[in-house]
Symmetry: C2
Subunit: 489 residues, 2 copies
């Protein structure tokens, strides 16, 4: 199976596409820019969703659901927001088809909507229009709501998971009585995202704030987590926005404080999407296919029997039948693949390609010796162990794989982050890949010029950044701190 | 709170609307026909989803995700399907807005799609277009896939949960090598729905098949579960369709059998939606508000302290702190409402209205006596019990409430099903409400005439119906069996 498979070295981009498709994660549909998330890919996304949802609920949030459609006029109520979102989006103009004279169906011109509806690219406007009726006094605050939904942004160049016209995500939308509380919420959710990325996806991230020009349209501050892929490019993995009173003002959402005074409500929004699937694939996978962190693997352990004839299979199956309930009782997701439609070699390659963290092989000789072969996907190491040790070794090994993947991801950031002090050094570092720490004069003009000349963007101003006077690598004007540059997805 | 509240007697329809809105289940949005599902309502839907999802997985299904948009031409590929679905739907014609000279934004005429996209009203077409590439041989079958998604049908008259332009649902789409297997799947999923309705929603249902004219557009057979609301109207709560080879033929999906012969694939689809929320509300609620079956209640037990001053509250809270972990350990969702912003009386009315199955009241005198007051929502009965008995009594009482609601629902069907033998009796029975069992000659013409004259439709031909020769109540032509009529939502 891995025979005619593109390596990272040969073509990183093609390598990514092949993994996504051949590991049955997703495929392009006939609808431009829209993907089909296949069962194996969706099972990983479900694990992400379940974990994130638990974390949202632990931090006091509840789920709700708001309309898919947004009246066109809503988008223009918040001036910056419309600039960022009202352009490339799917517009519903009619509500009926009719039978065509030429066969098939055609749009019924009589069924034109008075006001066009936009398929939500994000839901701030429709939600704040709703919150207007939910909020009268400080007693109604905070509102801590999250929505799991599909959104559409009409992207011209799409890539599976990383950039698709329709994608799945969650969007948190919270309302607060004070600025401080809203900022605290924004930071809290960034930390939830960072914890999820590191502890579950095993993807190390840098926490920081976006510069003004990279901010969410309508936000006063955008916080982000930035991950680093194996090709040295950064990937924004989640954002949390402090929206100030912008949307409250646009939709006239006021509350009466304890003192009876009216004030506009403070807002945040935060989201992660199926883009995380792309980050997951590009962080850990290798030239043999997908590598999954055990905590998000739909199948954590696969058991493959190696046998000749039905009698051998039966003997192996009997042995495995004693093991399966023990592993399941430990909360381990295990699959015994006793299909006779495929050979063991094919199965080995298949599960390797699909990134199953641990593979256990059991043959006739193992039965005689009371042994089994344990193969771990991340290092491809194999060891022969006593069969009776399996239930004890597997949980520890799963944890070891999880930890090891995170350690590798952390090391990647550490090893490839370059500190530079001049523009020549900067350009070399950007070409090499990885994060580049450099002084910047704080102006969007300089940021824009650097982007034009090198394709590098400011990924973030790290949280708790050390203030350190210096000289901007580009303009040579004074700078107060270093920021993190990189080329990015 | 319940003061100026409409009773069922006064206006059943208004009673329903008030419960949905005032119990914070859902509200209308500014977007025509689209609702906002509020956190409390969504929490119930989440419980439904989780349980159904578990049942789907136990029966071998996996989840996936397909595009929101369907190319217009796909809808017309299956002749019956286009008749049923291609009419009232949201049509995307453009993919960009631009800044308008008049301020705001307007549709960019330059960004017109070559082929219009339909927001999915159901996904058979896009999914079978995808399955075409997934299926080559019998080894690829069966495909047992489910999707949780939003769909849009442009309804002219909408009602919260019961009929909305956008709604949430799940749609299973399976592919099989044989007709028998597909029929078995269709029936299996109908049984899953019936079990869910009865065991979790506590809603008794009748299982049956639809007549030809009530069938899903594109199906050879539509199986359904029909529930009966308190006003005597039926509500179709779930459907499971045997699609034959219709969609396989429309999208040219063939497979090679073990003998190498090519044949079209057999299909099923099945779905339930947020409409179930409407069925839940209308099945159990009373003139005091919502009544929820414990298995789907977001809060199963609420504890309300009755106190004067902080000292009393503190003493009660300390006592409750010993109880909460015990109840939680039993898997019971319990809330201790110690807010000082609202009085106990307000809280009692609030939780009663929101249908929390058990309310525990604890005051200063209870502390002295070692007692507590237990109130069950369904019967409004109150008993004083020993505080130490709570953890033992609550689980049993929750089960009792669950069973009692189902028993009432079953009794409603039994008590209101009328067997009639002539058209006069039929019309009277239909006016009275409930299911009406009557002979029908089997023709769509008779069905249509009866519908016109009485607004009653054939809800289903019960599964395992006794064949019994008789005379059609309308045409007086010979009939082979009785079918079930009712007015319906």
């Amino acid at each position: 199976m891995a025979k005619n498979f593109t390596t990272r070295e040969e073509n990183y981009s093609e390598w990514y596409n092949e993994i996504v498709k051949r590991a049955d994660l997703a495929e392009n549909s006939d609808v431009r820019g829209c993907m089909v998330i296949k069962p194996y890919g969706y099972a990983i996304w479900e694990k992400m969703q379940r974990q994130l949802d638990d974390m949202f609920k632990e931090t006091g949030h509840v789920n709700a659901y708001f309309p898919l459609f947004i009246p066109k006029s809503y988008l223009s109520k918040e001036a910056d927001h419309v600039e960022g979102f009202a352009k490339e989006c799917a517009v519903v103009t009619h509500y009926r088809l009719k039978t065509s004279d030429k066969g098939g169906v055609e749009v019924d011109p009589a069924a034109k909507l008075e006001e066009e509806l936009i398929v939500r690219p994000t839901s701030e406007t429709i939600i704040w229009n709703t919150y207007k009726n939910w909020i009268q006094s400080y007693r109604d605050l905070p509102i801590l709501v999250n929505q799991w939904a599909n959104v559409v942004r009409w992207e011209m160049r799409t890539r599976l998971f990383l950039r698709t016209a329709e994608f799945l995500w969650q969007e948190g939308h919270t309302a607060h009585a004070t600025k401080e509380e809203a900022i605290e919420e924004t930071e809290k959710m960034l930390n939830v995202y960072a914890e999820f990325a590191e502890q579950y996806m095993a993807v190390a991230v840098l926490k920081g704030k976006k510069t003004e020009s990279e901010r969410f349209a309508g936000a006063l501050d955008t916080y982000c987590i930035e991950a680093l892929m194996q090709d040295g490019k950064a990937l924004q993995a989640g954002t949390s926005h402090f929206l100030g009173q912008n949307f409250a003002k646009a939709f006239d959402v006021k509350f009466a404080g304890k003192d009876g005074k009216q004030d506009y409500v403070w807002a945040t929004s935060w989201g992660v999407s199926t883009r995380l699937m792309g980050a997951l694939v590009m962080s850990h996978s290798d030239d043999h296919g997908l590598v999954l962190p055990p905590k998000l693997a739909p199948i954590q352990v696969v058991i493959v029997p190696i046998y000749k004839g039905e009698d051998q299979l039966k003997a192996i199956a009997e042995k495995i039948d004693t093991l399966l309930p023990k592993l399941k009782a430990l909360g381990i997701s295990v699959k015994f693949d006793d299909r006779d439609t495929h050979k063991p070699g094919w199965k080995f390659a298949e599960y390797e390609f699909k990134g199953v963290p641990i593979r256990i092989g059991l043959g006739a000789r193992d039965l005689e010796n009371g042994t089994a072969e344990l193969a771990r996907r991340d290092t491809l190491e194999k060891v022969t162990i006593d069969f009776d040790e399996i239930q004890q070794k597997v949980p520890a090994l799963l944890q070891e794989i999880q930890d090891s993947l995170l350690a590798k991801s952390k090391a990647r950031i550490q090893d490839t982050t370059t500190v530079v002090d001049d523009y020549e050094g900067f350009k070399k570092a950007i070409d090499k890949g990885g994060f580049v720490s450099a002084h910047w004069d704080g102006t969007p003009e300089t940021e824009e010029q650097i982007k034009k000349e090198t394709k590098a963007t400011i990924r973030c101003i790290p949280l708790n950044n050390t203030l350190e006077p210096g000289t901007c690598i580009y303009s040579k004007n004074p700078s107060t701190q270093r920021v993190i540059f990189a080329k990015a997805y």
